[in-house]
Amino acid sequence: MLIIAGRRSPNSQSSLNTAGRNLGFTLALLSSIAGCLLSLTILLSGAPLHVELGQTPLFGSLILHVDGLSALFLGIISLLAVSVSVYSLGYTKDLSPRHAVGTLLFLYNGFLLSMVGVVIAGHAVVFLFAWEVMSLTTYFLISYEHEEPAARRAAWLYVVMTHIGTAFLLVMFVTLHTYTGSFSFDAFKDSGSHMPALVRSLVFLCATVGFGIKAGIIPFHIWLPEAHPAAPSNVSALMSGVMIKTGIYGMVRVFFDFLGPDIPAWWGVLILVVAVSSSVLGVLYALMEHDLKRLLAYHSIENIGIILMGIGAALLFTALGSKPLAAIALIAGLYHVLNHAIFKGLLFLGAGSVLHATHSRNIEDLGGLVRKMPWTSFFFLIGAVAISALPPLNGFVSEWLTFQALLLGFQISDLTVKIAVPLTVALLALTGALAAACFVKAFGITFLGLPRSVHAQTAHESSPTMIAAMGLLSLLCVVFGVAPGLVVSVLDPLAASLLGANISGQIALNGGMLAIPQSTSTSIAPAVLAGFLVAITLVPISIGFVFGGKLRKRAAMTWGCGLEKLEPRMQYTATGFSKPIRMIFSNIYRATHEIEISEVSSPYFQPEVRYELKTESVFLTYLYEPVSRVVLKSARMMRRLQTGHLQSYLAYIFITLVILLLFAR
């Protein structure tokens, strides 16, 4: 209940009292540490925590129920909240006084409490309550800098989409209520069996759409790249790190916990299709983005796709009856949830520090920050390596597990698996490669080379608390990368409890080594691997000494094709960097270029050339705009009913009377 204490924050409007701000964030820090401890105790002890909130006349007693799954997500939320709270201490120090820090604190703590509430709710009404309060606080947080119209539009789009999602969730929970007679999650447990198949599929679809909108899967993703950049950076780290995970939590809870064991196969296939399209399209759109935070937002979509690949595979395998495979797939998915929360949080905090220092998000006019902001760039590099799933860090382990889970699919002789699995493997590999390309662009253009604008030149290192927060997260990246045994040993009983079958011990964890007995001693030992990588680099140094003696270095200017001084404009730009990929995937992007060359009187003067590139956002133009056009057109038609003539109003009453007399006899 420390969390609620954390919620009580000074709502002091005065933005100058640093004491109030520090107090607020330290309270948030303490409550999130408490959250971590609570989740760890439950995860390790395995005993669910059951709290009765009180009797209500309509919905029975409101329950908070924290079992393994909610404890895992509680842990993730609190873990990220700890570092973000530390980060916010420094970040909000010199927010422009126009924005009252008091409201930011109030909303920030409310946001944290509601996310925790969503995860520990054991009762439909409490869940919906926390769910909507989360959307409400996020709405106000996104429209925090409400001067820019983009922030307002993003906030509106976000709140509308989540509310539509909640409508689906409402239908789902009420259908479950009609079939089980109560609102508590225990009653919903395995309620799939005593529902007709059609209703069960309806509940599944409502859950997928409702939770999918919050998770940002492909057809419903349009709010994500708008909302995350608009929010203040510490909040957008939390939003894309953990808030979209509440969608995943909901899906896992409904698919595996509520809808019970016998699941039709097409569910798994649907989730896999959504997962694959989300991950590939997510990374492709990310490649074209030059706004750092929008780029990271699109990557959240991609990583949600990878998580859903794990969950979709788990669904498919349970439907086809092989429980152990499903367990590995689920563990892979949940592990990636943890990893993504950490490295996405780290990257967003890094982007926040860059924004904080240079007041510009467009990477085209950054560059050369590695010298001005050494620590931020180092931690951002660790985040980039982790998200591109490169070996020593945590991204690699969870993607390796997902690969193993998918490859083991060949043991099942079902035809759908035979086609679905290879395609998923291919596209997962493609996503991994594209992600690496995207982050080379992001890190390279932002941090390396010469500063491209005055902002970049005058950048300064972020404050110590911000660096400490990022340091903590990168340490976690390394720890979970090097010692996966910790996490997998926690996830294993959780997957066992969810999938019913006792498949613990599927992933042998002898000495920090992940082995999959299913496929005869396939294993990786990340700890040893990391050790080797560090130790082996000594070999080239020693070889260098042996052959070349002491290293003699001389600094000189980079070769500028003969020009006497290297101009920052001569460097590669982000658009240039992603041009080859744009050529390769041109039919997905359908990019349009506009080149304007200004008229120049005499040939001796240089004409001014303006080049503008626009990639078409397919879903917006072909799905959302037509729908809204139709709705507004029909609304405009209906509006003509209120004509303003008194006669027509009387005629309406007369017609209603006549119709009633005819029909209601």
Binding site: V370, L381, S388, L390, P391, F396, W400, F403, L407, K418, P422, V425, A426, L427, A429, L430, G432, A433, L434, A436, A437, F439, V440, K441, G444, I445, L448, G449, L450, S521, T522, S523, A525, V528, L529, L533, I536, T537, V539, P540, G544, F547, G548, L551, R552, K553, R554, A555, A556, M557, T558, W559, L566, M570, Q571, Y572, F577, S578, P580, I584
Partner: protein, 318 residues
Amino acid sequence: MNQIVTTIATSLAHLVLVLAIAPLVTGVVRKTKARFQNRRGASVLQPYFDLAKLFTKEVVVSSVASWLFQATPYLVFGSMLVIALLVPTVITPVPLHWVGDIITVIYLFALGRFFIALAGLDTGSAFGGLGSSREMSIASIVEPAMMLAIFTASVTAGSTNLSIVVERLSASPLAMMNPAHLLAFAGLFIVMIAETGRIPVDNPATHLELTMIHEAMILEYSGRYLALIEWASQIKLVVFLALLSNMFFPVGMAATWSPWALTVGVGAFCLKVTVLAVIVAVIESMNAKLRLFRVPELLMVAFILSLLALILYFIIGA
């Protein structure tokens, strides 16, 4: 205790072998290319002398570059060595097989590529950016193709552990002849050409900005750093050839540590690697370099080939 000592000893020996052979293989390739251009060409050992020379030379570091520029050579070389440790060349049961499997190998390649690309961007010169952008876009298709090709082989063996795969395939060489494996081999061959930067995809010997991809990234390196990176790319060539030969024609590999089996293994390995090197050189001299935006079509062919191989294997269920 002695079990650990033996594994360290054997893996070190393994490492030395690969380190030694790498420049030789590049020498063979250059020799055959020269022969095709009916000139005598430098001796096969020329790469050794180049490396030795480079090691002694002074390193010129660009003032624009950051610490990343100077750390990349060591990291790239290190990751190549780790790959060398994992890939079975001479003997099937690689001592450290439990440390990593095929996916680790592929992602270690990606790690190396990631840092070289960043180093290219670090110097702030147009060529570095050009190289990194082309390298990363080609890699974005090559990597999945490589994975699919190798997965076809690993799926037949039932595990992604390299030693197990090679052992299983060497146990039944006839199983190799089914269509899935041939397609996978073709796909992997194209991937090898793209990955090691040979002619149809990228020209290793040129400094003309239109054609160079791999060279552009390491343009700014000099002295010891250049030596390390050159050597790393040579090791990469050897490792790829080893993968190609052992995954698809594992004949003649030593099954046990007996000295006789070892000599046969080393001999067979050298033979296979030289044959493949010659084939690469032949292809290189017969083809002209593809235009940059034709390369993705070639790579798409590789991707489709490997995907077909995997699906074919799944459908037919060899």
